[in-house]
């Protein structure tokens, strides 16, 4: 899990596999990072090629947490199979999702 701040937006890059093991590896770290930042968070999903339901839950948890702190959590760079999971579970209606990081950052600024 990589983090950087670009124009006041905390960009967090996800690992390749967000299965149970991958989630366990970043879950606590992610929660703390997001809660500490308590602002605009962009989760870059570009490297992710597998996502388990636990990962959806992790993202949902962080979305709720950061929204309560007045921030937001958006996603970008979903590979087609990942986008499909979001579509079928309708999680695409929960998150603001951009195709890539640049467009996400631009949209966030607006």
């Amino acid at each position: 899990m990589q983090t950087e701040v670009v124009d006041g937006i905390l960009v967090i890059t996800m690992p390749v596999r967000l299965d149970a093991f991958g989630v366990t590896g970043i879950e606590d770290d992610l929660a703390e990072t997001v809660a500490t930042y308590a602002g605009k968070v962009l989760v870059d999903m570009a490297p992710v090629n597998f996502i388990a339901s636990l990962a959806l839950r992790m993202l949902l948890t962080n979305l709720k947490a950061v929204q309560q702190l007045g921030g937001d959590l958006r996603l970008c760079g979903l590979q087609p199979p990942i986008a499909e999971v979001f579509r079928k579970s309708r999680f695409d209606t929960l998150f603001k999702i951009s195709t890539d990081r640049d467009s996400a950052l631009e949209a966030y600024q607006g």
Binding site: L56, L60, K88
Partner: protein, 615 residues
């Protein structure tokens, strides 16, 4: 001129005898060069001879010869002393009295066999038997004492035996002096040891016959445990340690120092050596054989008592150490036992968890409908397999009024026990809300209303009561009218079921809304489809499409569609079977990573119905 003749017969078959005869003056380098010792460990008896002219310098020549041969003869210090004395005293006698100014030769031969030195001196002078010479009067004062005779006396005293022979035919006199390795030094050293200090000279010298010297280098083993023990040892210098081997481990029993005795136990009780004994320093030992040992015991009761005291003290010490050792062992065992018990408790705990899990699994199985009573003209088949003991997938089959059937396929995020708990909750909520609404006459608004209300209630409950857990459930809930084939359904974030036509075409049902438990106002949408004769609705969990092989490749939707496409004519049971078979074949033994659930609802064609009717 003197000439040298060297005759070396040192190559006889087994190399036992080496004979070197040197005539005349000696060239040391030559002598030494013939003294190689090629015989390794073979016991060598050596013999060296020299012939010199009888003159005043003879003694010096012979002494030089002696110096040269001594190293190869391995003489003890007293043997060396005797050899020198013989050369000095006897040669002088021969030159002075034997030849008495005439010319002649003296032949000297030294040989050693089994540590016994034999000195032979031959001359051609006036016969003289040294044995016959009277002892000098040692009692008289120096002033009164006659000159001479002392040398011969000393030789007699020092030698074990002195033989004299005169051959009247040849005129040769042969004097043979024999000296074995006795050890007055050793006796002297023994006397310095407290154990022997009280012995009389007589006792000590009678014991001396049973004493030989042994030398050990540090680390050398004196004897091994189990060896036969017929001698014991008095340590004159150095130190010995007794040890036992327990498998690979060396147990150091005790170390004994100079002045102490070692190995006497075997002599006392005539048992094999109880321990292995090794030198921990370079040692000089007086080896005492059985007779010598018992002579020692008899000579002085104090010695016997002293030995007994030593034995008793050792026994006490050994007991003490053994008890301490046993106590330590006992402590170790107690600890090991405690560890074992802890491990066993852990195992019991683990087994109990396993047992509880298996109970949970049985209970969870009971959550699944035991039988799926297919309405007339329909086939129903289902399959569910958890990745762990208990899982997060479930399906349900709820009988509703007017022959309607509620069909549920659901998947709780996660797996294992946490997921299973929510399965129980969600299933119960759905069932309870469905049934209660039916019973409460909620039918008024139609079954579609009832469905939406049931799911909404479930969702609200989950969000309000369990929102903190962020657990969500993907749910497909459909209500089928078997008569018309109308399926009204709500899809809350679940993989849309597929509709398989008899011609092999496959299409997905509509997407729905967010899963149950995420947000309160999730905007449930009711969809509907009519299942035609020959069509099958295939509901499944993502464990099917995301089943992974060892390379983490996924089974995928395409393979599922292909499987369905190729088996569109299969009945419901066969369809479920072939899906699971294909998934398993694809996974090829890789560990199942997620729960797998399939539910197939198939509307039969007219001719099938006729066939399936009881006659």
């Amino acid at each position: 001129m003197r000439h040298v003749q060297t005759q070396a017969s040192d190559t006889c078959a087994h190399g036992y005898v080496r004979h070197i005869f040197v005539r005349g003056s000696v060239r040391r380098s030559m002598l030494y060069s013939s003294y190689k010792q090629p015989y390794g460990e073979v016991a060598v008896s050596e013999q060296h001879s020299i012939e010199v002219a009888a003159e005043w310098a003879s003694a010096a020549q012979l002494m030089a010869f002696a110096d040269q041969i001594e190293p190869s003869l391995s003489l003890s210090s007293d043997q060396v002393y005797l050899l020198h004395m013989v050369i000095e005293e006897i040669t002088t006698n021969i030159v002075k009295y034997g030849y008495a100014g005439t010319t002649g030769v003296i032949q000297l031969t030294c040989s050693v066999e089994e540590q016994v030195l034999t000195i032979t001196i031959r001359d051609h002078g006036v016969p003289f038997d040294p044995r016959a010479a009277p002892d000098p009067d040692l009692a008289t004062t120096i002033a009164d004492r006659p000159v001479g005779g002392l040398g011969v006396f000393f030789v007699r005293e020092f030698a074990d035996s002195v033989e004299y022979q005169h051959d009247p035919e040849t005129g040769w006199n042969t004097l043979t002096v024999v000296k074995s390795v006795s050890n007055p030094d050793l006796l002297e050293q023994l006397r310095n040891i407290s154990l022997f200090a009280r012995l009389s000279d007589d006792d000590l010298s009678s014991i001396a016959a049973h004493v030989t010297e042994r030398r050990l280098q540090t680390g050398e083993v004196l004897f091994n445990e189990g060896d036969e023990g017929k001698v014991c040892y008095v340590i004159l210098a150095g130190a010995l340690e007794a040890l036992k081997y327990l498998g690979e481990t060396e147990l150091h029993l005790e170390v004994r120092q100079a002045g102490q005795i070692m190995g006497e136990m075997a002599l006392i009780d005539r048992s094999p050596r109880a321990a292995t004994v090794r030198a921990v320093a370079d040692c000089v030992l007086a080896e005492l054989d059985e007779l010598g040992f018992f002579a020692l015991m008899h000579a002085d009761p104090e010695v016997a008592l002293e030995l007994l005291r030593g034995g008793a003290a050792r026994l006490r010490r050994t007991n003490r150490e053994m008890i301490a050792g046993l106590e330590a062992k006992n402590a170790e065992l107690s600890k090991a036992y405690a560890d074992l018990q802890a491990a066993q408790n852990e195992l019991i705990r683990f087994n109990r968890i396993e047992e509880e899990l298996s109970v949970a699994r049985r209970i969870q199985r009971l959550f699944l409908p035991r039988d799926l009573p297919a309405p007339l003209g329909w086939q129903v088949a289902a399959f569910s397999r958890g990745a762990q003991a208990v899982g997060g997938d479930f399906f349900d089959y709820i009988e509703l009024p007017n022959g309607r059937i509620g069909l549920v396929v659901a998947d709780v995020a996660g797996k294992g026990v946490p997921a299973a708990l929510y399965v129980a909750l969600a299933r119960s909520l759905l069932r309870a809300t469905s049934q209660s609404l039916v019973l409460a006459g909620g039918i008024g608004g139609g079954l579609d209303r009832m469905m939406l209300q049931a799911i909404e209630l479930t969702n609200t409950y989950m969000v309000r009561e369990h929102g903190e857990s962020n657990i969500f459930i993907t749910l497909f809930y459909g209500v089928l009218d078997p008569v018309t084939g109308l399926l009204q359904y709500v899809n809350a974030g679940h993989n849309p079921p597929m509709l398989l036509s008899s011609d092999g075409s496959v299409r997905e049902l509509e997407l729905g809304c967010l899963p149950i438990g995420v947000i309160e106002e999730q905007g449930l949408r009711l969809e509907q489809v009519v299942i035609q004769p020959g069509e099958a609705m295939v509901g499944f969990s993502d464990g099917i499409t995301e089943a992974m092989d060892a390379t983490l490749a996924m089974f995928g939707e395409d393979r599922l569609i292909e499987t369905l496409h190729e088996h569109s004519h299969f009945d419901a049971d066969s369809l479920v079977e072939v899906i699971i078979r294909n998934v398993d074949a694809f996974v090829d033994g890789a560990a199942q990573s997620d729960d797998i659930t399939v539910l197939v609802f198939r509307r039969m064609e007219a001719h099938e119905i006729v066939r399936s009717m009881p006659t």
